[in-house]
């Protein structure tokens, strides 16, 4: 070892160069941030031009500037309504959903040390569907579809955690409890639909369950982005702790992480973000699983980088997938969840193949 120390001292330059090598490929964070904001604004703008009614990009810009109070350009009322009341909020909710679900997937994958974890692994989406169906079909309470979904999601999460706690199985226990919760609540959803609903109601609920951004409003935009912003802030604060989970809970604990509290905070956070997003958009599948992997491929594994990268990539990707699902079978809209799976599965397969080649 003395020899090794001498070697390191006598030839520091090449050693350093080699060490830095993998970082050179990475992009500077500031460039990435600026680029991503531009990409998001452009994506929303272009997405707002797409659809049955033709609106030019210039008109979209004018509408946006008018409403932001930066200009006063005369535009047709119908175009203004289409862009400002329909397409822009929709694109922004899609962006929030992509960002939020990606973020939750990232946190759960790191926390549970499982590359297959996604935001729905704790039974949240399946609980949301039961809640929504209960409201839509059985007419429970005066809380609306979104309220029902949110209540169902929280209930499912609470049950999952209670079960995980009872099993004392640690990470594996949480995953298995989540699996049990997911199946229980999907069975309950099917039971309600089977027993009570007529075909029209079923169709509507099923459409919503697959993930749908029909009829979102500015209220939804504000709610979703508020939740995503809180989630992003907390996750950035916890970035170092999430890194420390790489070798499991014992090592995390020996590195000074209060494991139980960290896990509780992050599980609760992901459940609330997911429940809120699912209550607005339905269970948009696959984004939460794939996006963290894409982000890691772009910026490496350190959470100070992957958290912002997942948010940006998720937001931009979802805007485009939603726009594509809107126009692909126009005038009939495709549920955005179908779109995300259709795009996400090939991307995921590509990642798996690349990963296999690299190792």
């Amino acid at each position: 070892m003395a020899r090794a120390r001498e070697r390191a001292l006598s030839a520091p330059a090449p050693a350093r160069a080699r060490e830095r090598a993998p970082q050179r490929r990475r992009v500077h964070p500031a460039v990435l941030l600026a680029g991503s904001v531009v990409a998001l604004v452009l994506s929303v703008g272009v997405a707002a031009t797409l659809g049955a009614a033709d609106v030019s990009l210039v008109n979209v810009r004018d509408v946006l500037l008018n409403h932001l109070g930066l200009a006063n350009v005369p535009v047709r009322v119908s175009e203004d309504a289409i862009v400002w009341q329909d397409r822009v909020p929709r694109a922004l909710v899609a962006a929030a959903a992509g960002a939020g679900l990606g973020l939750c997937g990232l946190v759960l994958q790191s926390l549970l040390r499982n590359p297959l974890a996604d935001p729905f692994v704790l039974g949240v989406s399946s609980g949301a569907s039961t809640g929504a169906v209960a409201v839509a079909v059985l007419g429970v309470g005066g809380i609306g579809l979104s309220g029902g979904a949110f209540a169902g999601a929280c209930l499912a999460f609470a049950l999952t955690l209670a079960l995980a706690r009872a099993t004392r199985g640690g990470t594996a226990g949480i995953l298995l409890a989540g699996l049990a919760g997911t199946h229980l609540f999907s069975a309950l959803t099917s039971l309600v639909v089977f027993a009570v609903a007529d075909s029209d109601e079923t169709r509507g609920v099923m459409f919503w369950l697959l993930g749908s951004l029909e009829g979102v409003r500015w209220d939804d935009v504000v709610l979703c982005w508020a939740v995503v912003a809180v989630g992003a802030a907390v996750c950035l604060g916890y970035a170092g702790r999430l890194d420390a989970f790489a070798f499991g809970e014992d090592i995390a604990s020996s590195l000074g992480i209060p494991v139980a509290r960290t896990r509780a905070v992050l599980l609760l956070l992901t459940a609330l973000v997911t429940a809120t997003l699912v209550s607005v958009t339905g269970a948009v599948g696959f984004v939460g699983l794939v996006l963290p992997h894409v982000a890691r491929l772009l910026v490496g594994h350190a959470h100070t980088r992957t958290v912002p990268a997942t948010i940006v990539v998720g937001a931009v990707a979802m805007v485009w997938v939603d726009a594509a699902s809107r126009v692909a079978f126009a005038p009939t809209p495709l549920p955005v969840g179908v779109g995300t799976a259709l795009v996400g599965v090939p991307v995921f397969a590509l990642l798996l193949v690349r990963r296999g080649r690299a190792s």
């Binding site: 070892m1 050693a15 090598a21 170092g240 790489a246 604990s253 020996s254 209060p258």
Partner: protein
């Protein structure tokens, strides 16, 4: 700068895995934890770094209850290398070492110059600087173990807890690693299986059986044939070697006799092979050259059974020869 254990007891279900253990290592000393598999070495280490809470007794870090000390503060003082710490994350050695700086950094703060300097220096201490940029998944088991130790050193601990750190290491790295740990100005508690390494590098040995301490003290006092027979159930010879070091030599255990293979008439080929194998083993194993000569002569000298060498041949060997002679023609 002390890490003391007072009367630690830990139950897992109905089993007592740590049974009233007290430990007061001298600052800067190297303590070896010995004991057979399942004697509670790893469990004791888990209690010592606060990953588990004892049912009775306390761990005191500078006189303060470890369970009431913030984890971050503990991690700046006590570093741990556990067994089987694996990851799916695609980390480089440097990334792993950098994890050791976690307790020294503010939640949102980036790495400072001191962090970088420590992260630069740690891999060299375990002979891993050439692989600092390599991916975790390309490392051998021994290199992974050394990367974990570099990570622990990057924590700049005052106490170092190591759970069988020499597992997977070749002999050179075993010696270098323990020499490094023994030379570090830290208090180390090391769970070990190799008694000779323990005797060479530890100042104090603590022997556990069924979670309880059965012996503690300097290696020369602890490692006695009686204790090894009692705790490990092995016969051993303990002596001072040519360099003045304590060496433990194990004697092979007496196994129950192996039954001879059952001879079935239909398996001639199998018989032939066993027979040949036996005879070859016979001649190799015979300690004196005469015995080999005698077997050879009895094999060839079929016509002269009463030759002068025959009486020196042991009785079982001469009875084993006839089937071989029968096959040779």
């Amino acid at each position: 700068m002390t890490l003391h254990a007072d009367g630690l007891t830990w139950r897992r279900g109905t089993r007592v895995v740590v049974d009233g253990v007290s430990l007061r290592p001298e600052p800067g000393s190297t303590v070896g934890l010995l004991g057979p598999n399942g004697s509670g070495k790893s469990s004791l280490l888990r209690l010592l770094h606060g990953a588990a809470r004892p049912d009775a007794g306390t761990v005191l870090l500078d006189g303060r209850d470890l369970q009431r000390t913030p984890r971050r503060e503990v991690a700046r003082r006590v570093a741990t290398v556990t067994q089987h710490a694996e990851t799916d994350v695609d980390l480089s050695v440097r990334d792993v070492v950098r994890l050791g700086r976690t307790p020294h950094r503010r939640p949102l703060g980036g790495p400072g110059p001191r962090d970088e300097a420590v992260v630069d220096a740690a891999p060299a201490q375990v002979d891993l600087s050439a692989k600092a940029s390599h991916s975790w998944h390309t490392l051998s088991g021994g290199e992974r173990q050394r990367a974990h130790i570099a990570r622990a050193l990057a924590q700049e601990p005052a106490e170092l807890l190591l759970d069988e750190p020499t597992n997977h290491l070749d002999v050179r790295h075993q010696l270098e690693l323990l020499a490094l740990v023994a030379a570090l100005p830290v208090t180390s508690v090391i769970a070990l299986h190799d008694l000779n390494l323990a005797a060479t590098f530890c100042d104090v040995l603590v022997v556990l059986r069924a979670g309880a301490v059965v012996a503690a003290g300097p290696p020369r006092d602890v490692l006695t044939p009686e204790l090894l027979r009692d705790v490990y159930g092995v016969e051993a010879h303990v002596a001072t070697g040519p360099h003045g070091r304590l060496t433990v030599t194990f004697l092979p255990p007496v196994l129950p006799p192996v039954l001879p293979p059952v001879q079935t008439p239909g398996r001639a080929l199998g018989q032939a092979w066993t027979g040949a194998g036996e005879s070859r083993r016979d001649s190799v194993a015979s300690p004196a050259p005469e015995a080999g000569v005698s077997t050879a002569s009895s094999t060839h000298g079929e016509a002269a059974p009463g030759s002068s060498t025959a009486p020196t041949t042991a009785e079982p060997r001469s009875t084993a020869t006839p089937p071989k002679e029968a096959r040779t023609p």
